[in-house]
C-alpha cells in the first residue's frame, strides 16, 4: 500500500507518544548509566570525570566478586532446581489425568504473586523461633536439625535460593507443558507399537523434540538469575556479612546507601552487559532467534 503524506503524518503521531515514554524511561537511563559510570559522584555535588577508574576499582573489589559468585549460586540453583523439577512435573502432567487443570493452576500460582509477598512469607517460614520449618522439625523430634536459616552465613544462600526456586518452577512448568503439546502423537504411537517403555520414549523422542524450548528456558533462567534482587533485599538485605549479596543488591547498597553513584552505575553497566552477552551467545548457539 502506498502511503499518502497524510497517512505518514498519522503514523508519526501514532508512534511518537509510545516511543517517547519508552526511550525516555527505558533506553536513555541505560545510556546515562554508561555516562555516570565514568564519573565520581555522590548524587548531589559536582561530578568528576575519572575515566575507567570505577571499573578498575570494581575488578579489585572482592565484595563485587563475592556478589557475582552469589549470582552464580542463584543461577546454578535456578537451572538445577527450577528447570529440572519443572520438566519432571510437566512430563508427569502431560497425560490423561483427572486433575491436570488443578495441578496446573496450583503449580503456576506462586508465579503471579508479588516477590515481596513471597519473600515475607518465606521469612516467616524460616523464622528461628516461630517459623514453620523449625516448629515442624521440633515437633517431630528433630531438634538438632533446627537452624537459623537466614541468619547463618553458610545456610542463608541456600534458604534464599529455595524461595527463588519455589517462586518460579511454575513458569517453566507451563512453558514445558505448552511445548509438550507439539510432540507429534503419531511418533509416540509408533513407539508404543514397537513396545518402547515410557522411559525410552521420554529420553529418545520427547526430550529431543522439545530441546529448543528447554534451551530457551535455560537462557531465561540464567538471565533471570542475574536480575535477582527483590527476594534478597526483603529476606536478608544481602546479609549476614554479605553472605547473600548479589550484584543488583551490591549496586543498590553502593548507590543509595554509600552514595557512590558513579561506582553503582559501573555495576549497573556490567549487569546490563552480562545479561546482553548471555542472550547474544545463546542466540548464536541456537543458530536462530529463539529468544
Amino acid at each position: 500500500m502506498r502511503l499518502t503524506k497524510k497517512a505518514k503524518r498519522a503514523i508519526m503521531i501514532g508512534l511518537i507518544p509510545a516511543l517517547v515514554i519508552y526511550i525516555g524511561f527505558a533506553i536513555i537511563p541505560i545510556v546515562v548509566s554508561f555516562y555516570y559510570s565514568f564519573m565520581e559522584w555522590n548524587g548531589f555535588s559536582e561530578m568528576t570525570f575519572i575515566g575507567l577508574d570505577n571499573y578498575k576499582q570494581l575488578f579489585k573489589d572482592h565484595l563485587f566478586w563475592n556478589s557475582l559468585k552469589n549470582n552464580i549460586y542463584v543461577l546454578i540453583a535456578s537451572v538445577g532446581g527450577q528447570i529440572s523439577i519443572a520438566l519432571a512435573i510437566a512430563l508427569l502432567l502431560n497425560r490423561k489425568l483427572k486433575a491436570v487443570k488443578f495441578f496446573r493452576t496450583i503449580g503456576f500460582m506462586p508465579v503471579v504473586l508479588s516477590s515481596v509477598v513471597v519473600s515475607l512469607t518465606w521469612s516467616l517460614i524460616y523464622n528461628v523461633d516461630d517459623g514453620l520449618l523449625n516448629v515442624v522439625l521440633r515437633s517431630i523430634g528433630l531438634e538438632n536439625w533446627t537452624m537459623n536459616w537466614l541468619g547463618d552465613e553458610n545456610l542463608a544462600m541456600l534458604s534464599v535460593s529455595v524461595t527463588i526456586i519455589w517462586q518460579f518452577i511454575g513458569l517453566y512448568m507451563i512453558i514445558f507443558l505448552a511445548a509438550l503439546q507439539n510432540v507429534p502423537k503419531e511418533i509416540l504411537e509408533a513407539a508404543d507399537i514397537d513396545g518402547a517403555s515410557e522411559w525410552t520414549k521420554t529420553w529418545k523422542i520427547i526430550i529431543p523434540t522439545i530441546k529448543n524450548t528447554i534451551f530457551a528456558a535455560l537462557v531465561l533462567a540464567i538471565s533471570g538469575s542475574l536480575k535477582t534482587f527483590d527476594q534478597i533485599y526483603v529476606m536478608t538485605s544481602g546479609g549476614p556479612n554479605h553472605a547473600t549479596e548479589v550484584a543488583a543488591m551490591y549496586m543498590y547498597t553502593k548507590t543509595f546507601e554509600s552514595l557512590q553513584f558513579g561506582y553503582g552505575s559501573a555495576i549497573s553497566v556490567l549487569i546490563f552487559l552480562f545479561s546482553l552477552a548471555i542472550i547474544i551467545i545463546a542466540n548464536k548457539l541456537m543458530g536462530q532467534k529463539a529468544i
Binding site: M1, L3, A7, A10, G14, L15, P17, A18, Y22, F25, A26, I27, I28, P29, I30, S33, Y36, I85, I89, L97, A99, T105, I106, F108, P110, L113, S114, S115, V116, L120, T121, S123, L124, I125, N127, D130, L132, V135, I169, G170, L171, I175, A178, L220, S223, K227, F229, D230, Y233, V234, A248, M251, Y252, T255, S268, V269, I271, F272, L276, I291
Partner: protein, 277 residues
Amino acid sequence: MRIKKVTSKRFFIYLILSLFAIANAYPIVWMVLNSLKTADEFALDRIGLPEGFAFQNYIDAWNTANFGSFFVNSLIVSLVSVVITVFLGALAAYFLSRFQFRMSKFIYGFFVFGLLVPVHATLVPMFILMSKLGLLNTHFSLILPYVAFNMPISIFLLVSFMKSFPKDIEESAIMDGAGILKIFWSIILPMTRPAIATVVILSFINNWNEFVFALVLINDPALATLPLGLQNFAGQYETNYVGQMAGLTMALVPILIVYLFLEKELVKGMTAGAVKG
C-alpha cells in the same frame, strides 16, 4: 497383573504431583490460617487451625499500617499505567503491524529490545531523572517507568495479533472514506480485544507486584504502593507475626482472585513474555 502395574504407576504419579501441589500451596495456606489467630494463640500453636477468626489483626494492620492507602496507591499507579500502556501500545502496534514504511521493522525491533533491558541497570539514572523532573515522591515517578517497561511486551503481543488480520480490512474501509485513526478506533481495536485483555492483565499484575522502582523512587509513606508498604510494615513490626500475616493475606487475595478468574489470559501473557525475554 498388567492392570495392577498400571494402577500403581498412576498412584505414584498422583503422589508426586500431590506433593508438588502441597509444596506450592502450603506456605500460603499456613500464612493465611495463622493470620486468623490472635498473637497469644499463635505463640502456643503455630501449625494448627485457628480457633476463631481474629479479624482484629486485619483491622489493626489496616489502621496502623495504612493498608488502605497502600491499596489506593497501588490501584491508581497500576490502573493509570495500564490504560496508558494499552492505549499507546495498541496505537503503535497498529501502525507497526498494518503499514509498511521504511523504519517499521527497525522500530518494532527497537521496542522488543526493551525485553532485554534489566530494570536494575536503570535505577540510578531513573532516580536522578525523576529528581530533576521534580517527580520523586509522586505517582508519576512510578507510572512513567511502568509504562516504559510494559511497552515492549505489549507491543510484541499486540503486533503479532494484529498481523493475523486479513489485509483487506483497511482497504475496504479506505474506500468507504474512513480515516486511518478511525479505522484503528472502530475496526482494529475491537478486533484486538483478546490480545488487549492479555496485555491489560499482564501489565496490571506486573505493576501491582513491582517493588524496586517503588523502593527507589518513593520515600513518602503516604505514597507507598502495596509491596513497598508491606516491606516497611514488616520492618517496623518485626515480631508482630499475626499482623504481618494479615497484611500479606490482604495483598494476596485480590491477586489470587484475578488469577483464578483470568488464569488463561494471565498464563498466556506471562509465558509469551518469558519465552521472548
